[in-house]
Amino acid sequence: MSEKPTAKVSLSASIARFREVGLLGFIILMSIVVQLRNPSFLTLENLNDMITNTAILSILAIGMMLVIITGGIDLSIGATLALSGMITALTVGAYPNLNPIMAILLGILVGIVSGGILGVIISKGGVLPIIATLGMMYIFRGLTFMVSGGKWVSAHQMPVSFKGIATGSFLGINNLILIAVITYLIFFYFINHTRTGRQIYAVGSNPDSAKISGINHDRIIWLVYTLMGGLSGLAGVLWVSKFASAQGDTASGYELTVIAACVLGGVNIAGGSGKISGLILGSVLIGILNNALPLINVSPFWQMGIQGSIILIAVILNALVKRGVDLNALMRRKI
């Protein structure tokens, strides 16, 4: 009796693993090709650079995954990131003695407020996520330009401690990587081991039955957009600290990169499924693309076409692999 369910679990787990193995294989293959063209690709320094540059993307991808799991989408994150980055930069510019931790908290707060408003509009106002976030994207971006008065906050206006957030390291590991890892651990626990975390999946895979089973649908929807906002706020501070400059048009269009990372990582855009492990692979693939294409010295005019083709090939391969697995599973069931 007890054997049957475990067998089922291991089967579905192996399917999931297999999907990710496919993506992992693709990443390894690509790394080998790049390594052959430019031996400096797989050096410690480059890997460190690459992961550091991908840290912000991967932090945003967690929030986006939660949003997509509930069947929504968030186009406003680039603008939220810019707004929180700009407000934080202006604040540390005015109060250079502000503790960097406080700066991070301020950025997160700005993000949470932005995301909270968005969440209310979507959950209580009943506005579809794509249109609500599109509208808020314009609003947040406009606000960013307004609070900055069209100016940028430059490196010399920021205290050393603030710039140190992104450049500093702990035990030889860059702070950005550490922050990303901690965020991942927290969210891994939250998604897999808390009631609320599981409810997010329930709402995404079947909203009606989730409602019937007593899950507060509106609260969960509000929560994911607020979390997304908070993560965008965090990313905003890290971004400004990393590049030592805050602009009104920071990260414009970045939302599409984040969505691409999620979808590559196997997050189903229709909602209901998505895993942290896949997300990491998706972010890494995007990170490698951004890092490797300049390295292998292709013409800059070809970069965009190659990038798009690789994304398309990766998702199609992933789909084909999944088809094969499903077919196998089906045949086994027949027997």
């Binding site: 430019n38 400096s40 320094e45 490196a155 010399h156 400059s245």
Partner: protein
């Protein structure tokens, strides 16, 4: 049937609104004199995009000049740096019957039909900073000779690296016309035999995005371990390169120069990552454009070679030949180094 009638109704609505407007405003194509109604002429400037401190300063200079002359300045900038958005703004300005349009073009050719329409309606059109083609303007206000800008950067990097080694260029987008012209002149300067030991290994494009500029700079450093110098003729690019060189502790090993905003670059010039760089004063570029626009409107100049006028504090200026068209030159690019950066970083 209801649906169909709704469609027709809506179309009818649109037309009726249009028709109503034509009736209530019979003097539609009437007046150039309308602008002079209250004695004030109106001068418009259209920058590339909003939220750009360089552009804000340019518009500030333009406004200063126009207000000194006792006229009204209209400052506009679209939210995205595209020619399409600028075409729309030009149409809006034509509707407002302004006296003059000064434009910082997002594309040299694509604004031609719109600007021609403006000129056909008697509006004086000039470009500044980023030129539009000769057919779509009366005169161009040039911040500095592109040949000088290109050549001086090669001279600078050559001096920094001791005339020997690999160099790379980190530009804005591959579509940026100003940058492309300057890079052409850089390449011409490099043909001089005295640079025979300098090799330009790559022109990379950071698209004026922080993250991409950083990735491209890092890739340059890894692909060319012997790289001696980077020229970044764009504000975002040079600051991003300065940041990378600082973080990687490559100060002194890889030299950096180019064109950048003093406020953005102050940190890296003071720390010595970038010995010196160049730029012109965007306030002066706007100021000169303001006076040039006034001279065009008042008929003092027509945009022909040899025309002369006085540009406020900047003194006398002359219209000179520039390819097919004509231009007014501000001066040489200005050099920013550790000696003067402190006073300029607060200005722009």
């Amino acid at each position: 049937m209801k649906k169909l009638s709704m469609i027709f109704l809506s179309i009818f609505m649109v037309f009726s609104v249009l028709a109503a407007c034509s009736q209530s405003a019979p003097s539609s194509s009437g007046g150039k004199e309308q602008g002079a109604k209250d004695g004030k002429k109106r001068f418009a400037i259209v920058f590339k995009n909003t939220g750009n401190p360089y552009g804000e300063k340019q518009m500030e200079g333009f406004k200063n000049a126009i207000e000194e002359l006792g006229h009204e300045a209209i400052l506009k900038a679209p939210d995205q740096p595209t020619a399409e958005a600028q075409i729309q703004m030009i149409e809006e300005l034509i509707s407002q019957k302004v006296d003059s349009i000064a434009i910082v073009g997002n594309d040299p050719d694509a604004l031609q039909p719109a600007l021609k329409k403006a000129m056909d309606q008697g509006i004086k059109v000039l470009s500044l900073d980023s030129a539009v083609n000769a057919k779509s303007r009366m005169v161009h206000v040039n911040q500095a000779d592109p040949e000088r800008i290109g050549r001086v950067q090669i001279q600078a990097i050559s001096e920094m690296i001791g005339g020997k080694g690999q160099i790379a260029v980190l530009s804005a987008t591959s579509q940026a016309t100003n940058q492309n012209t300057w890079i052409e002149w850089m390449k011409k300067e490099l043909e001089d035999p005295k640079y025979k030991d300098i090799e330009l290994v790559k022109v990379a494009y950071g698209d004026d995005l922080r993250d991409k500029s950083v990735s491209e700079t890092e890739a340059l450093l890894k692909s060319y371990p012997n790289l001696k110098g980077i020229i970044a003729p764009t504000t975002v690019g040079i600051a991003a390169a300065g940041k990378v060189l600082t973080d990687k502790g490559l100060k002194g090993k890889v030299k950096l120069t180019g064109l950048g905003l003093p406020s953005e670059m102050a940190e890296y010039i003071e720390s010595g990552v970038c010995d010196w760089m160049y730029l012109w004063n965007p306030i002066d570029v706007g100021y000169l454009a303001g006076y040039a626009a006034d001279a065009l409107v008042s008929g003092k100049i027509t945009g022909k070679v040899g025309d002369k006028f006085t540009a406020g504090d900047l003194g006398d200026k002359e219209v000179v030949q520039d390819g097919d068209g004509t231009q007014i030159m501000l001066g040489d690019p200005f050099k920013f180094d550790s000696g003067n950066i402190a006073e300029w970083k607060e200005v722009y």
